[in-house]
């Protein structure tokens, strides 16, 4: 509590220093589309004053004793904007930037400067950058994030996101400010994000501003495009596994715009007929789809409203049809999200930009089994889901030329259905309707408030002090948390920047994965009266320097993270029927993670890219795992190296090459066996026979959990985009792009796991250690058109 008071006192002191001065404020937008630009730099004359636009494109800058000045605005990928303005006491200045590059910035880059960011461990990715790197035939946000130091992707080809030793549920994906609970398709091989609808991607792994909370390891703040409010345009693409289409345009003059996008995988179009031809009475199919939409409306220059929507599902189905018996049956697995957000953004006064959000988000997994014949009918439905709906407000207050305050708060209701089965049948046995597991449903209330004070002193210091206060109410238990966040950016001029950060985070929701006998399901569960929320503390120090007039950047970051109250599912334990799921998890685990990360980036020129390296160690300690001893985290990778190179030829051809190298992941492999007593397996001589026998089965000896490192991992991917512009008779232009990629070019056999066994079909041959390898060389191609 003392910490909170201290931080509030600092905030109040900063308020007290405010004085009345001239204010210039407004929005910075794309001139051709009307899209607000996030993070544009605005500087005033020779005063050395500057600010950046917030996530709504708003800025406010205060100047003193001056009536006329130059305003300069710069933004990556746009021409510089300069104007001379007469300054009034309160002045609204909306600025429209023209896409393009300055003459001295040949082929500007796709990526944004790390040095400019005040938050240690924060990365801003551009959509253009993601589009330069096709991986497994898709431009995938999560696979691009995996190429940053400190981020692991888990098993070969999958879209895991293990940030600095954290697990996937410790990442908060915010979609226009609303949390998404599930971010993958195809068993984790493709992410749900269609890059065509994204405007801005901010990834936090070190310092976390107080406006973010609820997860321990990372924040991925994604902002959707508002849609072009000047002209109708769009794009479509056809790849090997999926196709997508995006349309955007004005609805009513320049006040209202929309963007809609749909993507669908068409594996089922081929798979179902193919399996039906092969198996005749049965078939299987799989597909997924994503649907995005956003409607933006400017009520007046001070008020805008937005409606954002996302819906996406995976469908996996097995179908049986036996005409002779007049019976048919199926098993279907469906999982995915729905999210919708209504947002009102208001420029209350030249200093205050407020955002009010009403949101609903839901993740659910369903497994339906159905059987019908002439006489019988039976149906089982398994459902698990998490629902969250709430209200929140975020406010940016430009207090003075030196101080910017962000504050806000909100509340949300959370409903958890950990696993419910409804079963009904109607047959010769009788009629039955059963529901199991509905007693496990839990609800919780989450209330939070935050305040951040961002203080800039001349050009050498930027300090952000904040606190987040949250209360998670579940099962009559209040989990109250106070999370201080502090980070600073000290400018040493030619010697570079030094950034320091401390963040404390709390996570009251956990994702556990259940396998059972079928397709795995992710189950979200709240902390309960017996399971407290997880929490983490992270310290980080970052040194950043630009070289050669900003062409290159060097970033070195040290971090140390401690996570407490972690959960782990007990091996193989089902959570479906469990009346008290708390019994099925190991609790009160601790995670330790520390490391050093290097990033050397080339930002501009025809060749761009980066080299990333991290040296890290991540461990876990659970009382009931590994005899209570510390063991390596499943995706602990001591050395991790990434080379990402993009080269542009005449602006029409982009070449990309990605080479990754990492120490092998740790696994638990037996290094010995012994004869063991065990419960008798099958046939017995008589009811009186011994229950325990010896001789048939061997027990495995594990020296420890995750004790063995697999072979080192490395892989080279290549990609090329061929673009061609075409001008139609109407004067409109369209751009066609062929994207060709090769995954794992030199066909490296990377290990996924090891096992002992006989060669297939050769039981008489000696037992050997085998390696199960990941993806071999995989080519991909995609054709897309932007019009």
């Amino acid at each position: 509590m003392k910490k909170t008071l201290f931080i509030f006192m600092i905030t109040c002191a900063l308020f007290a220093r405010s004085q009345e001065k001239f204010i210039i404020s407004g929005l910075v937008k794309d001139k051709t589309t009307g899209e607000p630009l996030i993070g544009a730099n605005i500087s005033v004359g020779d005063l050395g004053k500057g600010t950046t636009t917030n996530e709504h494109g708003f800025y406010s800058i205060e100047i003193q004793n001056i009536t006329q000045t130059n305003i300069t605005v710069s933004y990556i990928g746009y021409k510089h904007y300069k104007t001379n303005v007469k300054v009034g006491p309160i002045m609204r200045l909306d600025i429209f930037l023209e896409p393009g590059v300055e003459m001295d910035e040949i082929n500007v880059t796709a990526s944004k400067s790390f040095v400019q960011k005040d938050v240690p461990g924060m990365t801003e990715l551009s959509v253009k950058q993601i589009k330069l790197i096709p991986i497994l035939g898709e431009h995938d946000l999560i696979k691009t994030l995996q190429l940053l130091p400190g981020v692991q992707g888990g098993s070969e080809g999958r879209n895991g996101l293990y940030v600095r030793g954290g697990s996937p549920d410790q990442n908060l994906f915010l979609f226009d400010g609303t949390p998404l609970y599930y971010v993958n398709h195809l068993g984790g091989f493709v992410s749900i994000f269609n890059t065509d609808v994204l405007k801005n991607i901010q990834f936090y792994k070190g310092g976390f501003p107080a406006r973010f909370g609820g997860r321990l390891s990372s924040i991925i703040d994604l902002r959707l495009k508002d849609g072009d409010n000047k002209k109708f345009c769009g794009s479509y693409g056809i790849g090997l596994i999926s196709g997508d289409i995006t349309l955007e345009g004005p609805v009513k003059s320049e006040k209202t715009s929309f963007i809609v996008s749909a993507r669908r995988v068409w594996a089922d179009v081929l798979l179902r007929p193919l399996t039906k031809m092969t198996f005749q009475q049965s078939s299987m199919g799989y597909n997924f789809y994503d649907l995005y939409g956003k409607l933006s409306h400017e009520i007046n220059p001070y008020n805008r409203i937005y409606f954002s929507f996302y819906g996406g599902d995976d469908h996996l189905g097995y179908f049986y049809n036996v005409p002779a018996e007049k019976s048919k049956s199926y098993a279907k697995y469906i999982w995915g999200n729905i999210l919708s957000t209504v947002r009102w953004n208001r420029i209350k006064n030249p200093k205050l930009n407020s955002d009010y959000t009403l949101f609903y988000t839901r993740y659910r997994y369903k497994n339906a089994i159905y059987y019908k014949s002439q006489d019988d009918f039976a149906q089982n439905l398994y459902t698990t889901s998490v629902h969250e709906g709430g209200l929140k407000t975020d406010n940016s207050f430009y207090l003075s030329e030196k101080v910017k305050i962000r504050f806000g708060g909100g509340l949300s209701g959370n409903w958890f259905i950990p696993g419910q089965i409804s079963s009904n049948y109607n047959n010769v046995v009788g009629i039955s309707n059963t529901i199991i597991g509905n007693n496990n449903n839990t609800s919780a209330l989450n209330i939070f408030a935050y305040s951040e004070a961002d203080y800039s002193h001349v050009n050498w210091l930027n300090l952000n002090v904040g606190v987040r206060i949250a209360d998670f109410l579940v099962e009559d238990e209040h989990y109250f948390s106070v999370e201080p966040r502090v980070f600073s950016n000290i400018n040493f001029g030619n010697y570079g920047f030094l950034k320091l950060g401390f963040s404390q985070m709390t996570q009251p929701k956990h994702m556990l994965t259940y396998s059972g006998s079928s397709f795995p399901a992710d189950i979200w569960l709240p902390s309960t009266s017996t399971i407290p929320p997880g929490n983490s503390k992270q310290f980080s120090i970052e040194y950043a320097k630009t070289l050669n007039k900003g062409k290159y950047e060097l970033v070195v970051e040290l971090y140390r993270k401690t996570m407490k109250n972690l959960l782990e599912v007990k091996a193989g334990v089902p959570l479906v029927h469990a009346q008290n799921w708390e019994n099925n998890v190991e609790t009160v685990g601790t995670g330790y993670s520390r490391g050093i990360e290097f990033l050397f980036q080339k930002n501009s020129g025809s060749t761009t890219g980066w080299i990333g390296y991290s040296l890290s160690k991540a461990e876990r300690v659970f009382q009931n795992i590994n005899n209570g001893k510390s063991y390596p985290f499943k995706y602990d990778r001591r050395n991790d190296l990434q080379f990402v190179v993009n080269h542009s030829i005449n602006g029409n051809v982009d070449l990309s090459a990605t080479w990754v190298y990492g120490t092998g992941y740790p696994i638990t492999l037996n290094n010995g066996v012994y004869e063991a007593y065990h419960p008798v397996v099958e046939n017995i001589f008589s009811p009186e026979s011994s229950f325990f026998i010896i001789g048939d089965e061997q027990a495995y000896i594990y020296p420890g959990k995750n004790w063995l490192k697999m072979r080192n991992y490395h892989r080279l991917d290549l990609g090329v985009n061929f673009r061609k512009q075409r001008k139609k008779a109407s004067g409109k232009t369209s751009e066609r792009t062929w994207t060709i990629g090769v995954y794992n070019l030199y066909n490296r056999q990377n290990a996924v796991f090891y096992y002992y066994g006989h060669a297939i079909g050769q039981k008489s041959k000696p037992i050997k250690l085998y390696q199960q390898s990941g993806f071999p060389i995989l080519p991909s191609v995609k054709y897309s058109v932007r019009f």
Binding site: V569, K570, G572, P574, N671, F691, P766
Partner: protein, 281 residues
């Protein structure tokens, strides 16, 4: 694993590399067993690494110690007991019915004939009891008549342990053993028992309404941990494609080695469908 009144059999072998196909029985060990009433015996080698003395028969309620000296290796030690106390089964109810638990899979009729078992247990509060049951039934054969109707018959003098049996009783579920795993023993303790007599329920797939057997176990804590851990170890020792669970080691109570030295006791009951049997006090 040892039971009352049955000669204790100690099996000693060297652990080996997973790629080694030869078993390394230890034939030259000196094996001693003793109890808490100062009875001590050396178990002679009977062959193939097995050591036993017919005269040395463990008794319920005693604590036993094992010491094995193996040339070239550290001496191994272990201790366990055979549980005692008055906790026992007082009656068994068996009722024929159908399994109405959700069945994963398609094409099959979900209604499977089962025997619903209710085990009434008298709990001796002076002891912490670790219990389990297994079900033994006659093996069955499946035939298809010319009209396509299936015919199921029992095979005389051939028995199987039922693997398709489970429980929805919280006293069993709370042990946290995966329901999806087919296992030949269901485990429970008296932690959740609220009274002197407590009912524990199970169901077992039984396609023919005929007599079957229930074995009721009382385990030492070591035997209970070992049996439970064997089920998990066996289930998790191979790679899980979805990478959800990881291998779990097998419980061992052997100092300077791996293995189990643990006592248990069991009772066998012959049960008939749709009947109640009362166990004589």
């Amino acid at each position: 694993m040892f039971e009352p009144e049955k000669p204790m059999m100690v099996n000693i072998s060297l652990s080996k590399s997973p790629t080694d196909s030869i078993n390394y029985s230890v034939t030259n060990a000196k094996v001693f067993v003793s109890d808490n009433e100062n009875n001590k015996s050396e178990l002679p080698h009977l062959g193939k690494g097995k050591y036993s003395l017919p005269a040395f028969r463990p008794q319920a309620g005693r604590i036993y110690h094992l010491q094995a000296e193996i040339p070239g290796y550290e001496t191994v030690f272990a201790s366990s007991s055979i549980p005692t106390g008055n906790t026992k089964v007082v009656s068994i109810e068996s009722k024929s019915g159908y399994n109405n638990a959700p069945v994963y899979g398609t094409g099959d009729k979900p209604q499977i004939p089962v025997e619903n078992i209710k085990l009434n247990v008298f709990d001796d509060k002076a002891f912490d009891d670790f219990m389990g049951i297994s079900v033994i039934q006659k093996q069955v054969n499946y035939f298809h008549k010319p009209d396509g109707e299936p015919e199921i018959t029992e095979v005389p003098d051939k028995y199987i342990l039922s693997w398709y049996f489970g429980s929805t009783d919280v006293k069993v579920i709370s042990e946290g053993l995966p329901e999806d795993i087919e296992k030949s023993v269901q485990l429970f303790t008296d932690v959740a028992f609220k009274g002197q007599n407590e009912a524990v329920t199970f169901y077992v797939n039984k396609e023919i309404k005929s007599a079957y057997w229930i074995r009721f176990f009382k385990f030492s804590p070591e035997a209970f941990s070992y049996t439970k851990s064997w089920i998990l170890h066996d289930y998790t020792k191979d790679y899980d494609f979805w990478e959800i669970y990881e291998p779990l080691p097998l419980y061992s109570n052997i100092t300077n080695g791996h293995g189990i030295f643990a006592g248990y006791t069991s009772w066998l009951y012959n049960v008939f469908p749709d009947s109640v049997i009362t166990i004589n006090p």
